[in-house]
């Protein structure tokens, strides 16, 4: 016959309480790690740079464009009218893209930043 160790009721209660505290602590640690990871992903992916829901973008939010009207069916026959329909939408989008490319380096010139460099230097 095997000897079964007898567990004292106080010890059992202590073990249960210890396990509960460990579970709560582990849950908090895991939650903190997941929050940290998601914030890092938010930063690394570049989403933080384009998050216009931030309060500092209140004034600019109205200028955000949407592409709801851009749609071309991926099925169906192809004839000249289909191509014309495609070209019409494509030209409009391309025109917009060309107009939006405002990344000129002039914006970071001394004068644009308000630096009054001494003449001739």
């Amino acid at each position: 016959m095997m000897d079964v160790p007898e567990i004292v009721p106080e010890k059992r209660e202590y073990n249960g309480r210890f396990r509960f505290i460990m579970m709560v602590s582990a849950s908090i640690v895991i939650a903190c790690l997941l929050v940290f990871l998601s914030l890092k992903l938010y930063d690394w992916s570049g989403a933080s740079q384009l998050d216009f829901s931030l309060p500092s973008y209140n004034g600019l939010r109205k200028d955000i464009k949407t592409d709801d009207d851009v749609n071309f069916p991926s099925t169906g026959a192809i004839d000249q009218s289909t191509i014309d329909q495609f070209n019409q939408q494509f030209s409009a989008q391309l025109k917009q893209a060309k107009e939006s490319n405002g990344f000129s380096t002039k914006a970071l010139d001394d004068g644009s930043l308000g630096i009054n460099m001494p003449d001739g230097q």
Partner: protein, 178 residues
């Protein structure tokens, strides 16, 4: 193991030298009067950089959405429609692949530019005007890269448009009589 340590030490030295030399190089080029000019314009530089960062983010958002709409809602459906109709659209597909690759580069380069701009904003120009000027020059270079990426994307779109015209004039003429 010993060689690895030496290699790591050499690499760390090179990186440190690179970091210090860029600020030093600007410091050598800037005269004292120019450093004074940067220091006196400190507040204006900071507010202009902040405004530029906000407007650029909006610009990037709109431009990205524009490119995304073209790639997802126009180029991809046309390519698949051409394939479903059994026509030859290899050139169009190749340009789409090139466009998507260039778009990824544009996204990454913009992230680098935004980080550089943020780094310039983080420098206190009252305490370190040379470092701030150097950071602005770095951001300027990154901005040029982003502008070049956008130009490349626009050129690819123009190529795609002319390829669609070529496709219509060659492929559709040959299939219409059927």
């Amino acid at each position: 193991m010993r060689y690895q340590r030496i290699l790591i030490a050499v690499l760390a030295g090179v990186m440190l030298f690179g970091a210090f030399s860029s600020a030093h190089a600007i410091g050598d080029v800037l005269s004292q009067s120019q450093i004074d000019a940067v220091q006196t314009s400190c507040q204006s530089i900071h507010s202009n950089l902040q405004r530029l960062q906000q407007s650029d983010r909006l610009l990037r958002g709109n431009l990205g959405q524009n490119y995304d709409a073209i790639a997802q809602h126009l180029m991809a459906p046309l390519n698949s429609r051409i394939a479903l109709n059994g026509l030859n659209g290899v050139d169009l597909t190749q340009t789409t692949v090139d466009f998507n690759t260039a778009f990824t580069t544009f996204r990454n380069d913009y992230m680098t530019y935004d980080d550089d701009l943020q780094a310039a904003l983080a420098v206190d120009c009252n305490k370190s005007p040379v470092e701030q000027y150097s950071a602005i020059q770095t951001a300027k270079q990154s901005r040029k890269t982003v502008a070049d990426d956008a130009t490349k994307l626009n050129n690819l779109l123009t190529s795609y448009q002319s390829e669609v015209k070529t496709f219509a004039s060659t492929q559709l003429k040959t299939t219409e009589p059927q």
